[in-house]
């Protein structure tokens, strides 16, 4: 047991938790932007999977990381656009559209992979480029902190930057205000001349772009190849993280971090003698507990609001 504690309270643990947080965080931020505009983007998993593949293909065939990144990004935007078209223009149910996208991605990525590389499970026959890891000059030299914060993948840092950017965008910028107002009350927004559909299009596209980085991190950061179903449910975990984050970018970041830690924990707990099935449950149990907690908190808020309203009505 002390060995486990040592592995949990180690630099490696925190480092690996941050690394495991990255894909979830990107997708959760994507989910957040869409959610604030009043559309639930269930298709994150599919977007991540498609972008993971096209990022690898793009970088392997062009020999340029930037082109690979563009490919992944454009794919994310494109899929979000398709989802937006079906749900906003054709009025299909957004949840069903998202689920459909995820199903398309499971088979579609394998189909594309097979047509291009003749392989149905992994893209190891292509040499994909990988986002570089970055040593931060000054921070690197701080004893413990340096080992935790420095030497991460570029995308890990980008995800942290994205938290701040998304926060600023949603809370402080004009388009962010529009997104929030559309999400709060679409009719009210429409009555003051906001083009609801256009705002939602924008939010979904942004959501797709963010999720695409989460996908690319898996195939061009964590690993150096695409492997079928490599997202392994991270897109769904991200939805939970966003819900748990209570609609704010900072909250979403902390919720994602909780899931990253839970996953890192499930790695560290292996080999302690606990049944492996139990250890594998950890991240998902954390998800359920998180959601229950969230629902309970929300119920409380609602109660308070209702009480507040009643009091208001009571006093003329």
């Amino acid at each position: 047991m002390p060995e486990v504690l040592r592995s949990i309270f180690s630099v490696d643990f925190v480092y690996s938790a941050l690394r495991l947080t990255t894909p979830v965080l990107f997708a959760a931020l994507g989910s957040l932007v869409a959610d604030r505009a009043g559309v639930t983007n269930i298709g994150l998993e599919g977007i991540m999977l498609f972008s993971a593949l096209t990022g690898v293909l793009g970088s392997a065939y062009s020999g340029s990381l930037f082109v690979g990144m563009l490919c992944g990004l454009v794919t994310g935007l494109f899929i979000a656009l398709i989802m937006a078209y079906f749900s906003l223009q054709m009025k299909a149910d957004i949840i069903l559209t998202g689920v459909a996208m995820n199903l398309v991605a499971t088979g579609g990525t394998v189909f594309i992979l097979y047509s291009i590389c003749g392989d149905k499970s992994v893209s190891t026959s292509l040499s994909s480029l990988v986002f570089p890891t970055i040593e931060i000059p000054l921070i690197r030299d701080i004893p413990v902190l340096g080992d935790i914060l420095s030497g991460h993948n570029l995308l890990t840092y980008l995800s942290l930057v994205a938290v701040v950017v998304v926060w600023f965008f949603l809370e402080k910028s004009k388009p962010g205000l529009r997104i929030r107002s559309v999400g709060e009350n679409a009719h009210a927004a429409e009555s003051v001349g906001i083009h609801v559909r256009r705002v939602r299009y924008g939010a979904l596209l942004l959501s797709g772009a963010l999720a695409s980085f989460g996908g690319m991190f898996l195939s061009m950061g964590m690993l150096t190849y695409f492997s079928k179903n490599m997202t392994a449910g991270r897109g769904y975990i991200a939805l939970a993280a966003q819900a748990l984050g209570n609609g704010s970018a900072i909250g979403t970041f902390f919720a994602s971090l909780v899931f990253g830690c839970a996953e890192a924990l499930s790695v560290s707990l292996q080999g302690v003698g606990l049944p492996p099935q139990f250890v594998q449950m950890v991240p998902y149990v954390a998800t359920i507990l998180g959601l229950v907690l969230y629902a309970a908190l929300r119920k409380n808020t609602k109660k308070r609001v209702r009480k507040h309203k009643r009091r208001k009505r009571g006093s003329p």
Binding site: R6, S7, S10, D12, S16, R19, L20, P23, Y114, G118, D119, K120, S121, V122, T124, S125, L126, S127, L218, M222, L223, T224, Y225, S227, K228, N229, M230, A232, E263, A264, V267, S268, Q270, G271, G273, P275, P276, Q277, Q280
Partner: protein, 368 residues
């Protein structure tokens, strides 16, 4: 415009539905099976898709070997039933109904239950299941032949090779799932490694699926960094590649599985190829050829299980240029010697197949 689009889409859908039926019909149409001269018709039902470069492709290769060997005497057909499990039993019944079919081959434990459900209804048909065993005590399955692999024998050799190159004497094992087949690999590895060095320890972990390569990599990294493993094996299908990546990154050795993974990285990613000592191979093709050959010669014991191992060349190690570079000539001779001892029965390799789960677990825990 919208109406036209809707009609077009509906037409497409209907077309697709019929197209699906079409291929099905073509597959089962008895008239396209040769009736003159009566070749033995052998059907391979794949409960997945081809192109996995290991298990199923190897089975398909077995069909090609059979065709090559017997030419016009046999008629072979390979059907990909896809990963949709609801299609498997109907396909099995369809081919059992087909008067021309003589032998139906299918693999993995998922197909076993379906085969024993269908087989008793078609006593004149023969069934071969590979990589899983029918419980012959539970009913009359005299027309079913099971093939199991002694993956523990090949693992024993791989474990011995790992022990020869290991400096820290810690082996990192990442399994896809905590099941009998995966543990059979592990038990073989442990036995082999401890045959060379009794002090070899095993860090064992399971991912919980065969997809999450990211997690495989993360677990392997943790085994290398926290538990000092310097030989690792991701026994988890495609997710296992994550372990190889972790090994290449950290500069330790890895084992490959299913297919010759070092050679698949050659020229694409030499760093990975160079860290793979060897790959544990399961030669489904050889075992199918052997079974069908025995059947053609009338010596196959239907209603029993054939267990294929090193002696039948149905399992083995990939002995490629990297294997030769990592192990010295002396060490390779040592491995060859062990192989001979296993074949001759001098070394008895423990297995997880058919053993009590608790007992296997105790064995694995004892090595940790």
């Amino acid at each position: 415009m919208k109406k036209v689009l809707a009609i077009l889409m509906a037409a497409c859908l209907i077309l697709l539905v019929f197209a699906g039926c079409g291929t099905d019909d073509a597959n089962t149409d008895p008239s396209n099976a040769g009736t003159n001269g009566d070749p033995v018709k052998i059907v391979l039902l794949i409960n997945g898709t081809l192109g996995d470069k290991s298990f199923f492709d190897s089975a398909k290769n077995g069909m090609d070997l059979i065709k090559e060997k017997y030419g016009d005497q046999v008629e072979t057909q390979t059907v990909e039933m896809s990963y949709d499990a609801t299609k498997w039993t109907p396909a099995l019944i369809e081919f059992s109904e087909d008067a021309d079919t003589d032998i139906i081959i299918s693999g993995t434990w998922q197909m076993v239950d379906r085969v024993i459900e269908v087989a008793p209804d078609y006593p004149d048909k023969k069934y071969i299941v590979y990589d899983a065993e029918v419980d012959y005590t539970s009913g009359d399955y005299s027309n079913v032949y099971s093939i199991t692999y002694k993956q523990n024998e090949a693992s024993f050799l791989a474990g011995a090779a790992s022990a020869l190159v290991s400096k820290t004497n810690v082996f990192g094992f990442v399994g896809g799932m905590d099941n009998v087949t995966i543990n059979d690999f592990l038990v073989g590895l442990i036995a082999g490694a401890q045959y060379i060095k009794p002090e070899m320890r095993f860090a064992t972990a399971y991912i919980g699926n065969f997809d999450d390569a990211v997690k495989a990599k993360e677990i392997t990294l943790s085994q290398i960094k926290n538990q000092n493993a310097d030989v690792v094996y991701g026994c988890a299908g495609q997710a296992g590649l994550g372990s190889i990546e972790a090994a290449a990154e950290q500069g330790v050795y890895a084992l490959g599985g299913d297919s010759d993974q070092a050679m698949s990285f050659k020229g694409v990613d030499d760093a990975k190829a160079q860290c793979i000592i060897t790959s544990i191979l399961k030669r489904v093709d050889q075992s199918l050829l052997r079974a069908v050959t025995a059947s053609m010669e009338g010596t196959l014991q239907w209603g029993t299980t054939g267990s294929f191992g090193l002696a039948d060349e149905s399992v083995g190690l990939a002995e490629n240029e990297y294997y030769e570079a990592i192990l010295t000539e002396e060490q390779r001779a040592q491995i060859d010697e062990i192989e001979q001892k296993i074949i001759s029965g001098e070394i008895e390799v423990p297995t997880a197949l058919g053993r009590d789960t608790q007992e296997v677990k105790a064995y694995i825990d004892a090595a940790s």
